[in-house]
Symmetry: D2
Subunit: 490 residues, 4 copies
């Protein structure tokens, strides 16, 4: 199976999107959550789920439904109507191969000493294995391989020593190391939490008399809500009809220690979103402009590899004065489940998804902008397609620095040996992908891209905002259950 937006799986994957909502007027929230998740679909296409409850009903009754697939495959609209409830949370998920089972879909719904919670989480904990062990030694059992279950246990245990659900959430968070953007619905409260480094985005919106906590502002636009503010790094936010928005900043770090994931700006987030006050679209335009300044080249056309390269290409064009144009047509029916038949193999994956507009490139010197090169296989192919269509020169510009290090905080970067930039000079990479020249965005430009916000550059520099785990923690729990679900449900 080939992911959407990817040519040859040669792209990175985000892990999750969250969307919680509480309607103080008591209206049902399930179908709005559905729309919200639909707007966040780019953050995870493997599974999704919604859990709602009725704040005026019996305490602890949660209706939930999860499944493998896209939100409009999993949810039939007539059935959303059955999910009655004025508070709820939804989740979309991408996962690395092996643990992509329905059991691991979120939200996690659980009964604990104080009732019922639903919990959705985006990010990756680096101390999850230790926390699991610790919990197991005090009698915990684990039915999934997701970090959310670890978080849920700590909330449940801290609840015994806490005055409120939000205090339990905060106390639980204080044990976590890593990246998390969390939405929890307790019977009468909508709680959001963001790790002190602010790796993952989380924001608050409002529509009439209802509040939303979600991963990206594009989900607010889609449902017609107004942006209120971002949840701050290290903040625990509690929303209730009685007290509105309450904030607990106990966990917060000094601002300079924050470490937003720069890849949200480069690639993950939708361009129409704003994260911590910075427009994703504007940051990509800016990256293109920096490339034009730092890696100039004479050419006749600047074009982006769709969709994610387009904004940077426009920026490059604006800064360089070289005309911007579309050079590619993407087959818009390439979906999550496009599966290659075994064939005499004349048809390549890239060609099936992308075609070059001969008229646009023939006889021209082309600057082709992409957001990143992972293994390099796709870039090589696309450069060749441009040449076959008559481009006289192909200059590749990448709107991020070269990948060199693993990410421990939720981005699925392959092993170093598979990274094209590992142990290679830029010239060598340029030769491999067959370009006339190659330029990467400089590491120093990243912070500018994010308008000065403190960012994490670990995958480029190997310098992480916190001590990385000794061994690679990914995969330890991943193979417990093979992906029988998908195979069986076909």
């Amino acid at each position: 199976m080939i992911q959407n937006n990817s040519y040859d799986a040669d792209t990175l994957h985000e892990e999750c999107g969250v969307f919680g909502m509480y309607d103080f007027d008591g209206a049902d929230v399930a179908s709005t959550i559905y729309y919200g998740l639909f707007a966040l679909q780019h953050r995870g296409q493997e599974s999704c789920g919604i859990a709602v409850s009725d704040t005026s009903g019996p305490k602890g009754k949660v209706l939930s439904y999860k499944g493998m697939g896209l939100v409009n495959e999993v949810f039939a609209p007539e059935n959303l109507e059955q999910m009655k409830g004025d508070i709820g949370v939804g989740h979309v998920r991408y996962s690395t191969a092996g643990s992509s089972t329905r059991e691991n879909a979120q939200p996690l719904v659980l009964n604990y000493v104080k009732g019922t919670l639903a919990l959705a989480h985006n990010g990756n904990l680096i101390n999850a294995p230790q926390l699991r062990k610790e919990l197991e030694y005090t009698g915990a059992i684990f039915q999934t391989t997701i970090d959310s279950e670890v978080i849920a246990y700590y909330i449940a245990r801290e609840r015994l020593n806490s005055q409120s659900a939000e205090e339990a959430v905060r106390r639980a968070c204080q044990r976590l190391k890593g990246a998390y953007a969390l939405v929890v619905t307790s019977p009468r409260k909508l709680i959001g939490a963001r790790d002190p480094y602010g790796f993952k985005p989380l924001c608050i919106g409002k529509r009439d008399n209802s509040y939303i906590i979600t991963s990206e502002t594009c989900a607010l636009d889609t449902i017609g809500a107004t942006f209120v503010r971002d949840v701050l790094p290290g903040e625990v936010v509690t929303i209730s009809p009685e007290k509105g928005i309450e904030s607990d900043m106990t966990m917060a770090l000094p601002k300079e220690k924050e470490a937003r994931c720069i890849f949200e700006y480069i690639y993950f987030a939708r361009p129409d979103s704003h994260i911590d006050g910075v427009s994703v679209y504007a940051s990509r335009i800016k990256a293109g402009k920096f490339l034009a300044q730092d890696s100039p080249v004479e050419a006749d056309l600047v074009t982006g590899v769709p969709e994610s390269g387009n904004a940077a290409a426009l920026g490059y064009s604006l800064a360089s004065g070289i005309p911007y144009g579309t050079a590619f047509v993407k087959n818009s029916y390439v979906g999550r489940t496009f599966i290659k038949p075994k064939q005499s193999s004349r048809e390549s994956s890239v060609q099936v998804k992308l075609n070059v507009l001969r008229e646009a490139v023939a006889g021209k010197r082309v600057i082709m902008i992409d957001d990143s090169i992972v293994r390099g296989t796709t870039s090589d192919r696309i450069v060749r397609m441009l040449r076959d269509a008559g481009a006289t020169e192909v200059h590749v510009r990448i709107s991020s620095p070269p990948f060199l290090w693993p990410c421990y905080f939720g981005t699925d970067i392959p092993a170093r040996e598979q990274l094209i930039a590992y142990n290679r000079t830029i010239e060598e990479i340029c030769q491999i992908i067959g370009a006339d020249s190659l330029g990467y965005l400089g590491i120093d430009r990243l912070k500018e891209m994010a308008e000065g916000l403190p960012i994490c550059t670990g995958c480029f520099t190997g310098k992480y905002p916190m001590e990385p785990p000794k061994q690679d923690i990914r995969g330890e729990y991943y193979d417990k259950e093979i992906d029988l679900e998908r195979k069986m449900s076909r």
Copy 2:
């Protein structure tokens, strides 16, 4: 939706069937478990699952798959082949409305301090609510509403103080009150446990160099295995290549305190099974003979309501000399998912499933044997069908005593107010169902039916082998998640 084997849902439901297997030669067990579950399908038609692991592989890697529906709907044979493993456990489940979700399907697979366990369970714990509370107050979270999760927690916690997995199972069992027949697979052991009263059946079989622990002997016959012996009430059995079958009788009660569920003999178990040395078929023949002795009547034909009334009808015929015959044709395509269209409603559920053989009954005085009357709606309808087909008299004989009390140990008996026998004399019931005479099996005959084995007669007498819970415990957790799954998956 209407259950298989039921006319108008006017029948009782069993809750589960279990089938565990360990092949010492290392051959895969999944497809044999599949056949075993198929033979146990009558014990539960709502969901099923299989979990296997490879004793020579990495410790704690369990492959599991569960789903809503019949075993041959849930499992595609080509995919059973992917479930590699020489030890495993399977489960079929019936559940009361409301908690029939995929989350609640078994086996439960869990990681705990000592690795990974899979667990399948038949029965009902009367102290589950208290145990849940107790666990919650020490930091447990619950993701399902099934008792197995409670049991799993206690196994995990006792494991910290135990020398072995089987000791942990036994220590966990000692905290449980109620009915349970349990199969657990630890990485290198197949463990079975039966509650001290022996409510639910559990037996051991052998085929070549592999061992089986399962609910009924019919599953052994189906897979070509030999019956070894029953697991005894109160016994924990551990099977391993090193030590063969080991037995721990610590929990056992004096034999006279045992309390087998008599409904296994009357209705639940397949007639070709033997439970604790007693043939189910023979016990039903016997019940028919007792009815002939205790409720004699002159007639021309004895017939059974298919399928469960047939054996008792044959017994009645043998004892009375009145000829046995088939009076009904059952539509063999009435399955679990036969759904009535909303219609002008001329077609009744009973008529769709059952037709009378006019030739067999016209002009005859008929004795019609059924295993039980719950609400009475079906009996009334069938008596009328017999009369319409020309029967001159219809005498109804029931191979069990009247239901009067709730069951706390796993049988889904409706509320007293819905039971036809509640607050009515036999004459009144006879009138309601329109029969010429009506006879029930005497309570004193039940123990004879089971060849003297100590039995539980709580549902007839209100005398339970242990103190029943103060309030009805069923339902407390049942409504947490409505059956969206079924609706959504259609």
Copy 3:
């Protein structure tokens, strides 16, 4: 895939069942047709369909739906409600391997010169290949491989020379050679036709102000309709609000030339049906009595192989005085789609479906009655199971004569070389199946079984009521489209 009611596919297959209905009061008929098809499910489990139209609506508007599978798999009740119409026809189909595609499902809905017809057909035409060729040479195109399409063409063409739809149906029928029971809905008429030999059953029923034409009376019972009369061999029946039931006997042959398929009585029809005034159940009881008279043997128990051997077993018991009993338990979840996993193969198909009641047979001399032996593989297995369960002697009695010849009229009998009776004496067959003795029903008894009605005995005697085709006509068109549908839809 293994058919329902079959052990090892060692049984015969019927090809179809039809159910047409016209409600003069204008009520919708789709859900009643659904119930009718459900009652006829034993006549065909591979595909089914319903087509309805509204006699008060625009002429020629037919709503139809067909699919692969059982009626309750293909039709969702909520959608039957969308099939508005007061006249309609339904069909269930079994087909030989290869042509089991959705394209070949019935009813066939077609536009022709006079509007729209829907047509459902049971039987087999022996001159279909010639008729197809003839039609092709006058410009016909064929989109299916079913005989119904040939019939439809002739109706369409004869309509040009006919005064009425029924005249066109009759004229078309006069060109057909072979077996057919046909139901046609024209915009305002329900038409039934039965071939002059009367191979296949067809009868008329009534419920309030609506009429039914269907294959078997059991379908009338199921929907609460009254039996009116059989459609006669060679009769074309037309039912309309204006004229009620009209009859055209132009095609009829002298009564002694009629040739009903005796296998309807022996095995195909449901025992609660009556065909041409003869009870199927009674005819099977009679077959058992004849066997007792003609092939007596001393024994302790008479038992039937479920379900089809039970009635003959009861007849044998009544005539011989040897007690009747149940010796087998059949797994009632063995459905159309029970699929064997590839396994270490210890589990046999017969064992999975059937188990012996040890208590019933141990130490006894058993007479086992079955309806037929095709290849003999199943009989051999069942005899062995009885011996393994302790039967001291096993005497097999078959309620039909040995199969020796092909059927050209709709029964799927395998090639002669595969028939156990071909070129073998009864003693040799007895040895092969491992029985102590073997007796078949005498050919002379068949007519008595059917109470003197003229029957076809071609498959036993090779004497057919009409000249058989020179070469085997089956299969010529069958392989055009492989069964991709089933494979793809899984």
Copy 4:
């Protein structure tokens, strides 16, 4: 259900795409046809099908599979492998509501006097009703409501008087009036035919030793084939290993009478295709340039409504010098089956699919280019979204003239009363959609767009290349079968 690429169903629909292939080396073609159809998916998303046969196998054996949905929903790759055959044809289809049933899916496979044909067709015949009547009066029956069945009949009938399959195809075509691009596979020949007006595109490609006839050149690119030439208006092309490409121009009209559908260039075709030597992309760029010349306006940004407005926007920018930019983000998961839940209705369809990039438009005078306005509801909404995002002026430019007349040749234009341009001035339309100014492409510019090729402008001018039918022929057969299929299969 909402179509892909559409906001509010306020777009036009193409009816079909075809892809035939013959591999002279005998390799299987099914998976390549699959890729070809995937590239043509934009031409029809409701149903699809593939039919293949083996030229070295038994004559007339065709394997076909069709289904409702996208090609990668209908075809599972592992099953394409079962479709063995070196010649075949595939089809994607869009259909107007009502006749969207599986029965109407193509290719049509039929047996006729000379063997078996498979046929796929794009276009609309205006004399189909008369041809149907004529055929019915000579004994034809119709099982579908598609024109292909009419064509198939004429091929079958003309075959009786023809020397070859291609002659029969040509003779059949000579009876057809209207638009058709046809691919037929006879047992050993691949035949293509295009109507004399050339309404619909059809071209020939080659890959190694195999030939392709398909709707658009983008399908050739996708499978790595080389473009050979277009099939000419009025040409019948026959491709065989013996004679290569043969051409029959009997039907051809004088070049000036040709009448290509201009909407292929404006909207239907993929921009990377070339039709009759004209690049679709270049023609759209040109349309944008014409708009800039004919409807100039001062502004800060030119943007296209994605995807179809982008090329014209680029053209406008190039001609006007006003910078081009992206103003919208489209949710790329909006698929064919995106279904709106009934909701409190705050979420609009447009907003769910499209969001404005505030940064790109705030404070700017925006020129927004779209390919057409049908009902106007979407345009109104998008203009408002731009203003809400801060655009100070919104000038709308449409790269086609106003729709005023029905299309009889395959484009699904709504009734005149629903067309916003009907009976309104451009100023009135501008007011309705809330724009500051509005400009349409001039009718005189259309021919220039197509580089002087003769085109059909019927939908803009009411002047058709042939006499239109007296009454609207669409819909006559469309409602025969409601879309039960879709509803049932959910």
